[in-house]
């Protein structure tokens, strides 16, 4: 084939491939069902292969971690020992508190995920690419009743939500993902708002939509440092799932309140998780925005009518 003809054919083929990519992108944006099923099918098909390779080659990863993460492990070990000492000291007080809490729970019928079935799964792997730092893959999928949007938790609180459910595995979008918006409630002030993770800070969560800064900045009306933060009743997930504790309260503009939360879960080191098998709504049920019709008391409505052209109100 002459070089010019070959070059023309190559360009034609490339154009076709680019057009196919754009078609796939547009279908993916619309969450085209058959395309998602096909992707899920490919992952299910390759899962046995990756499992076998993982079993065979896991010593390489272990050896790598042992060689290059020894210092981190030593530090972590010291931290854990210190925490055990502290926890032992508080054990009796905690026992008394938990007994009181159980009584209170029975009295006011507060439920945290009670009655919702769960599926316990192992965390198979963390991020696979270089940019998807806020996802993990777990060992159970739609065969175990897991569906997209379900909450994933541990005993410490919310881990994230199922973003993709294949037959035997699922992908979980972690609570640290800045694009995952969660409806939350600050327990000490009972205020609700929307929060999300912070890029590059896997232990922090920020509530920046909802709570307003109290007039005059009265400290008594601010969320208490150390106060618990849980999922709100109107969130996508069951209410009262722990998120973390308040570590900072600030106002960037004197109007809105930004609450920084220390996450109760260490999502960088997960072994097992539980998926709450309840159906979650697709969207956070935000209240509809209704324009205010209130007229300030010092303005005469007749002036407004004349300013608007003298039309009379029916």
């Amino acid at each position: 084939m002459p070089p010019a003809q070959r070059a023309g054919r190559s360009r034609y083929r490339l154009a076709l491939l680019v057009l196919t990519s754009i078609t796939l992108l547009s279908l993916d944006f619309r969450s085209f069902g058959p395309l998602e099923s096909a992707q899920s099918g490919v992952r299910d098909l390759l899962h046995p292969v990756t499992s076998i390779v993982d079993t065979g080659l896991s010593p390489i990863g272990d050896a790598w971690n042992a060689a290059f993460s020894y210092g981190d492990l030593e530090t972590e070990n010291q931290d854990l020992r210190r925490q055990i000492d502290e926890m032992t000291g508080h054990a009796i007080a905690v026992e008394a508190n938990s007994a009181a809490f159980e009584r209170l729970q029975r009295a006011v019928d507060i439920r945290f995920g009670e009655g919702i079935p769960t599926a316990v799964a192992t965390v198979l792997r963390g991020e696979v690419g270089n940019f998807d730092t806020n996802v993990v893959t777990i060992s159970k999928g739609s065969n175990s009743g897991i569906r997209e949007g379900m909450a994933v938790v541990t005993g410490a609180g919310l881990v994230g939500r199922v973003s993709r459910a294949d037959r035997t595995t699922s992908t979980v979008e972690l609570v640290t993902d800045p694009s995952l918006i969660i409806g939350v409630r600050v327990v000490s002030t009972d205020e609700v708002g929307l929060g999300h993770g912070l890029a590059g800070e896997p232990s922090r969560f920020v509530i920046d939509q909802g709570p307003g800064w109290p007039e005059g900045g009265d400290p008594a009306l601010l969320p208490r440092i150390g106060s618990a933060v849980v999922t709100a009743t109107d969130s996508r997930y069951s209410a009262e799932i722990p998120i973390g504790t308040v570590v900072d309260v600030a106002t960037p503009d004197g109007l809105a309140m930004v609450v920084t939360v220390e996450l109760s879960n260490d999502v960088t080191d997960l072994g097992f998780v539980s998926v709450m098998l309840d159906i979650a709504p697709d969207e956070v049920p935000l209240l509809p925005v209704v324009p205010s019709t209130l007229v300030p008391i010092e303005i005469d409505p007749a002036q407004l009518d004349s300013a608007a052209g003298g039309g009379s109100t029916p």
Binding site: S10, L46, N130, S163
Partner: protein, 172 residues
């Protein structure tokens, strides 16, 4: 037959990416093995076969990434085409040159991936971290190309060449 062999190499690459290189990272960065398949596909397959190999490798990688399907496929296909076009006139089939091409092309792929995703609404990918990821994954891919290049050369070789006919391997 060529495509079957390429499929086999791609499956090995994705398996290693999803298992070994989840743990084995340098400065927190993993190599981009599917990008390596696409680059070497362009290098050894030329501008006709290379983009198809790149597209398929990118599509396989997209299935596992949380970003939109088709992003990697498009970038890999275009990169393989550019390498395949340049390869015909500029490159000589030496190990050092393959490594250099892989390093530069991997960095270009990582940066393009971040930019295209940013255009598509995925926030937070364009920053200094992106440059670090591009540099480290480029160097890792360059090192791994010494192992991957013979495998891709085998996969991309025409069947007639494998049977003993004197057909140039790297100038398809």
């Amino acid at each position: 037959m060529t495509y079957l062999r390429v499929a086999l190499v791609s499956i090995v690459a994705i398996s290693l990416q999803l298992t070994v290189f989840v743990d084995v990272r340098v400065f927190g960065v993993a190599p981009e093995l599917l990008a390596l398949v696409a680059i070497l596909g362009g290098y050894f397959g030329g501008s006709q076969t290379g983009p198809v190999v790149g597209f398929a490798a990118g599509l396989l990688w997209d299935v596992y990434l949380p970003t939109h399907l088709g992003v990697s496929a498009m970038i890999f296909a275009v990169t393989a085409y550019i390498i395949g076009t340049l390869e015909a006139g500029l490159f000589h089939d030496s190990r050092g040159q393959v490594g250099t091409v892989v390093v530069v092309a991997t960095m270009a792929i990582v940066v393009s991936y971040a930019f295209l995703n940013e255009i598509l609404g995925v926030r937070g990918l364009i920053n200094v971290e992106m440059l670090r990821v591009a540099a480290v994954s480029g160097v890792m891919n360059g090192v791994l190309s010494f192992v991957a290049a013979p495998a891709m050369k085998w996969a991309m070789a025409p069947t007639s060449a494998r049977r003993g006919a004197r057909v140039p391997v790297s100038r398809a």
